[in-house]
């Protein structure tokens, strides 16, 4: 039972990550491989504030949000002025720098990370059992998804798609393209940071290995296979992709084989999807 709860919590977390990356990548067309780094920023801000400064979980959320928003804006303003695909290379750089910082700064406790992070509490009411934590993650996921869906269906989402297709044409219709690109990047990265905050507190252990390039690429895979440019795609795709490999555990496969098998499964899935259904599970149009 605990095991199933853990998977469900994981699914909720990954849905928010996939949906927020989808805003950046699927809607605005900014291919980004630094999403896990921003999740890491949120996780570490929350952890350090809770463990070392004794803040309550709820108070760390605005701090994590603000911190990630400022960092992503600092990165976005110069790099998103560049047109075309250069941004993907820049996001590689961002990911490497942030992973390296997490691994080497004293304040992030280097490669050891933090253990025993307090569970989330709201107004003095602490959520301790895994069952309660599932509802915390579910609530968080629903709020984020509703927010993202509103954004995507507002004129904002339409303008992002227009930018993805043709920046010059969008500009000549009177839209400030750089502003919209920076805005969606900051929003998406801030959502990822919030996910990191919840992740740290729910799992109560973090280290730099949870926020590496591999993880960033895995999140992009979730967004693409679910269906880029659709919020629904990420919601439908994530549970399938997270839950399906778990079947291996019930097939009496030894864990040493199950790990590599899982990766092979993902690799095959990506190849098959790109060959037979590049639009993902849910088509944008």
């Amino acid at each position: 039972m605990e095991y199933v709860l853990f998977i469900l919590i994981n699914i909720n977390m990954y849905i928010v990550l996939a949906v927020s990356l989808n805003l950046i990548m699927g809607y605005a067309g900014l291919i980004s491989v630094s999403h896990a780094a921003f999740m890491g920023i949120g996780a570490y801000v929350t952890t350090i504030l809770m463990v070392q400064f004794g803040w309550s979980f709820l108070l760390t959320l605005p701090a994590a949000l603000l911190f990630a928003a400022v960092i992503s804006a600092i990165i976005a303003v110069p790099s998103l002025r560049v047109k075309g695909d250069h941004y993907i290379v820049m996001s590689f750089g961002i990911q490497f720098i942030l992973t390296s910082l997490l691994n080497n700064l004293n304040i992030t406790n280097r490669a050891m990370g933090f253990a025993g992070i307090p569970k989330p509490s709201f107004f003095g009411f602490a959520f301790e059992s895994n069952f309660a934590l599932l509802f915390v993650s579910l609530g968080f996921m629903l709020v984020c998804v509703l927010f993202a869906a509103r954004l995507a269906h507002a004129p904002f989402g339409l303008i992002l798609k227009a930018i993805r297709e043709d920046e010059n044409a969008t500009e000549s219709l009177g839209k400030n393209v750089v502003f919209y690109k920076v805005a969606v990047f900051v929003i998406g990265c801030s959502l990822a940071a919030l996910t990191g905050s919840f992740f740290a507190s729910i799992v109560s252990f973090i280290d730099p290995f949870s926020f590496t390039l591999d993880e960033s690429i895995f999140i992009s895979t979730l967004a693409i296979i679910g269906g880029s440019g659709t919020i629904r795609g990420s919601i439908v795709g994530v549970p399938l992709l997270i839950a399906f490999p778990e079947i291996l555990r019930f097939m009496q496969v030894p864990t040493t084989v199950a790990g590599p098998l899982r990766l092979i499964f993902y690799g095959l899935l990506i190849i098959l999807f790109m060959r037979f259904r590049p639009q993902g599970i849910i088509k944008e149009y």
């Binding site: 339409l158 303008i159 227009a162 993805r164 297709e165 043709d166 044409a169 009177g174 149009y285």
Partner: protein, 236 residues
């Protein structure tokens, strides 16, 4: 004068394309800009739309210098560029494409009026309003691109080679509609076109460009068709 270009020098990086180009467009006028390949016609339109900032010279639009303005602000000031190759947003519907052109209009009645005006000009767009723009034919996409540019009711519409990829018969119809745009929407037009025969028949005045300069200005565009000056510009 609606638009005045004075002694424009502009280019891409170190490579200059325009060498002291000057031209005027009057209110309510359809001005044709023709010339051989590489003359700098598209660059001229991009300078006016703010996508390229000139190194020297000024662009006066309704008396205001817009030469160093960001493209989206130029658009908000009433200049609308319809880029070459009918670049509609293929993953949006026809209606959403038009919506993209009209976001600046805050008043919903005004928006609806604008939309109805476009549908009257291009009835086919209303029939296909919920269709993906990518599924339209070439001519329909060009109509959508022009309609999208007109949604914000610009004072000046810049058309870059609307004939690209269109059948001759479709092009003829489109030219007639462009004249209707000028007359019904109270919009001045600056049109760059390779199909000199079609465009000079419907334009009011015309400039001929070559190698980054204006080489000829004609107050009655059609006379150019029977004139040697045009042939010289293309052939010599």
């Amino acid at each position: 004068m609606l638009l005045e270009l004075k002694e424009i020098e502009a280019g891409y990086g170190k490579k200059s394309v325009l060498f002291g180009l000057s031209m005027n467009v009057k209110e309510g006028q359809m001005m044709a800009l023709v010339g051989p390949n590489g003359a700098g016609k598209t660059t001229t339109l991009r300078v006016i739309a703010g996508q390229i900032h000139p190194n020297r010279g000024s662009v006066l639009f309704r008396g205001k210098d817009i030469s160093q303005m960001m493209p989206h602000l130029v658009a908000q000031n009433g200049v609308s560029l319809v880029p070459q190759g009918s670049r509609v947003f293929t993953s949006l519907t026809v209606y959403e494409n038009l919506e993209m052109g009209g976001f600046q209009i805050k008043d919903s009645n005004e928006f609806r009026e604008s939309l109805e005006g476009i549908y009257r000009l291009f009835p086919v767009l209303e029939e296909r309003k919920s269709q993906w723009a990518g599924t339209l034919s070439g001519g329909e996409q060009q109509m959508l691109a022009i309609g999208r540019g007109l949604m914000s009711r610009p004072k000046l519409l810049l058309l870059d080679e609307p004939s690209t990829g269109l059948a001759p018969k479709v092009l003829h119809e489109l030219m007639k509609t462009i004249v209707a745009v000028k007359e019904k929407m109270n919009t001045s037009i600056l049109i760059v076109e390779q199909n000199v025969n079609e465009v000079l028949k419907v334009a009011d005045e015309a400039y001929v460009m070559k190698l980054g300069r204006i080489v000829c200005y004609e107050q009655c565009a059609e006379t150019l068709l029977y004139d040697d000056k045009l042939r010289k510009a293309y052939l010599s």
